[in-house]
């Protein structure tokens, strides 16, 4: 059996998408469409996500108890599935964000010393 991951296109690191999703939910519950656009816009369209690939990631997060979902009505009256951060999700977001910053910092330092 071949392994497929929901990480989407590009070289987005595994887990990065999860981090972005969690971050996009900090301000309140949102449905998949909103989350996808929020990530795109938030990154000034640098991070191009194939919107479909978001869903396996959401699914995984829900399984891990970091987000919870409910069916609601969208701003233009469409039925949509909303996701919100759980307490565990908030905690994970803090931890993952810190780790990401450390990673960026570390990589940045290495690159800097290499160019010197």
């Amino acid at each position: 059996m071949r392994k497929r991951t929901g990480a989407g296109q590009g070289d987005m690191l595994q887990g990065t998408l999860d981090l972005l999703i969690l971050q996009s939910l900090v301000l309140g519950p949102a449905h998949g469409h909103t989350i996808a656009h929020a990530i795109e816009r938030g990154s000034d369209d640098v991070l191009q996500v194939e919107h479909g690939s978001l869903y396996p990631a959401l699914h995984r997060l829900e399984d891990r108890g970091l987000v919870a979902s409910f069916w609601g009505t969208s701003e233009n009256n469409r039925k949509a599935k909303y996701y919100r951060l759980t307490a565990a999700g908030r905690k994970a977001l803090v931890v993952e964000t810190t780790r990401w910053e450390q990673l960026v910092h570390a990589v940045g330092r290495v690159l800097k010393s290499a160019t010197e």
Binding site: R4, H51, G52, Y55, P56, K79, K81
Partner: protein, 899 residues
Amino acid sequence: MSWTRFFRRSRRDTDLRRELQSYIQIETDENIARGMPPEAARAAAIRKLGNAGRVREDVYLMNTIAPLDMLWRDLRYAARVLRRDKAFAFAAITSLALGIGANTAIFQLLDAIRLRTLPVERPHELVEVRISPDTSRGGRSGSFNGRRPMLTYGIWEQIQQRQQVLSGAFAWSSVRFNTQPGGEAWYVEGLWVSGDFFNVLGVRPIVGRVFSASDDRRGCVDPGAVISHSYWQSAFGGRPDVLRHSVRVNGRQFPVIGVTPPGFFGIDVGRMYDIAVPLCADELLLGQDTRLNRKNGWWLSAAGRLKPGVTPEATRAQLEAVSPAIFEATLPDVYAADERKKYLGFRLTALPAASGVSSIRGDFGDPLVLLLGISGLVLVIACANLANLLLARATAREREIAVRLAIGAGRRRLLGQFIVESALVAFLGAALGVAVAHVLTRVLVAAISSSYVSVFVDLTWNWRMVAFTAGVAGIACLLFGVIPALRATALAPTAALRSGGRGSTASRQRVGLRRALVVTQVALSLVLLMGALLFVRTLYNLTTLDVGFHGKDVVAVQLMHPTLVDTDEQPSAVRRLILERLAALPDLRAAAEVAYPPLGSGGWNENIWVSGSDAKVLANFNQVGSDFFKALGIALVSGRGFGEQDMRGSTRVAVVNDTFVKRFVKDGNAIGRTVRVETGPGQPERKYEVVGVVKDTRYADIRDEIDPLVYLPTSQDDEPGNIMRVVLTPRTSADRIVPAVTRAINDVNPAINLEFTVLERAIQVSLLRERLMAMLSAAFGLLAGLIAAIGLYGLMSYTVARRSNEIGIRLALGAARGRVLRMVLADAGLHVAAGLAIGIALAVAAGRWIQTLLYGLEPSDPATLAGATGLLAIIGLLATLAPALRAARVDPVTALREE
């Protein structure tokens, strides 16, 4: 990966689908709001979302337990394939069902009579106490009664007193009890038991009570009887007041004191006991003749329960230690010197008895093991056939497989699917096989039962049966499924696609494999056919054996009554009256007294000296009336038979058989010689003058060699007992004379017990094992031959079909049709010949296993081997004829156009 997710996977998929739809709607709305036309807006939304199907698949895979899911899908696919190919499904499932069914049935019987432990408390603690077989060659003579005459009452008493290693011990004797007051006997299965029998076994009564030690004391006056649940049901209709009734055993009433639970059948596997009475009752039935006093009366078996913590070795050691004292104390006075020595050398031992003892185990245990082997081989042949079919199907599915491999299916995935297909077939075959086994075991039990021996075996299923059936099905599945699957998937897709049905390398390998399978089938079939023919000929040899007398229609009747005992100077008046009445019956040609009716499986032998020689030799004995030789048509060779002049008090005379003369009389003239019988100290001398020589006859068992035989006249019998046996030769038929004889004897005294045995029927019964082996092995052998023929037919048909192009070309180029025919026949002949050659070697090698089950021929009997080989060759030829003719009739034009 959790189970809840697994079971909810399809609901979550629906949820996801709705979620994705919702995305598309929202995105479409937004696109329209941006001014796109609705069609384009929707298309753009779908593009933006990407591959929705793949998203769903990804999430589905996350939720499912992939192997399980795949298994389920494979199963459904396999079921579809089977439904589509009904002919294959039918052939495969029925042949497996028959094969697995036969194996399961025979294993079930074997399990029931060999492996099952007794349905009693902690059966593994039970040991049988008996004289060690190593020490007991000879040295036991006297009278033997019951189905397992291992011990005398005296030895049993001694064991009880002296053993210290068993927490409890008991003795029993399994016999038949006559429940009729007089007239023709009606027998039920009886048990003589010591007081502790039920308690030591741990059998609790469901009604009343079972015996305790106090029920079995010497001199008991009014002992009761314990009956089995099945006898309670059949004889008393299960009535609750059974304790107020009594049962009649050999003429005496025994009040019923208790009923044992339904599962308990006794200790003799293969029989269901009906009535049990305590040992002490023997004295009430036989008076001073009781076996309780007879030091050479062998009739009991003994067993006991090991004390906790005592090892079997310690038990054996203790029993051995007390043995000298036990045998010293019980030595029969009538034993002569060397018999004494042997008797005193006996040692007791303890053998595991968790699965009980069995009289049918010895008779049918080994044949059943052999039959299991035979049915196993049949299954192997059937599996080879299935493998063959599957290989043929693999060829037909070559393109399908190639396409699937080409579009990216993994080989393991395909392999898994093929194996699931085989497993499904094996499972269905096994399920149907269980049903077949259910019927077959009952047929087999009925076949080994008879009016003389009712076989009772516990046929409920247990884990061993389930494991066996599952194991057989699994092995079968591996045998027929895996190799074809490996072969089928081992092909390069490009090659298969390119070759377009024209025999790729892989399919050529497959043909090689199919050839090997057919050769194996032929070889194994030959082994089975050979075995079948040997058993059939054994049965034939035995049934057509010259027994030396008019066996057909001879009826033996056994009379039992106290008035037949006589100690006066004159022979019993009742005996003479009975013989006179019988002689007057118009339907009877002759009636003659006999101690042991021929082939009645009873007999007696003694050590003798013949005058003119010092050598002590062993000879069989019988005691017969003066009409005996005439009644059975045994011709006199020289001298005279018995007559009026041979009375008590006159010279003791004897008639001997031909073999006696050949073996013991050097000059061939036996008349006038003296036969002296070895006697114990203090016993009167016994010697007889030979007055006549008669032709040889078979003695006790039809399979026995003819041994020297001495006939003594009943008219010189000093102490006729309460049993009288008469052989009757009817003018009409055996069945007609039974009522007439019954009436005649009833007129003399209605209280006399009668038991009739039609000799011919008794012989048939004694050949039960041979008949069973002949029937089953013939059925299996023919089945094997048939399956092999089908395999050969399939292979040759396939080869001819594949070569029809080539054959067309040959014919077009002028080859004669006869030549083509010969070519195909020669190809088939090669396979058959190879199979036969291997088969002959196997059959000869396997022969020694069945040596003991054969009569009158060797396991490697050349004529039989030639017969089996010839039979299989003919079967092979017939199987090839159709494909060969088809090849010869190939129309070159059609064949070439198909190209």
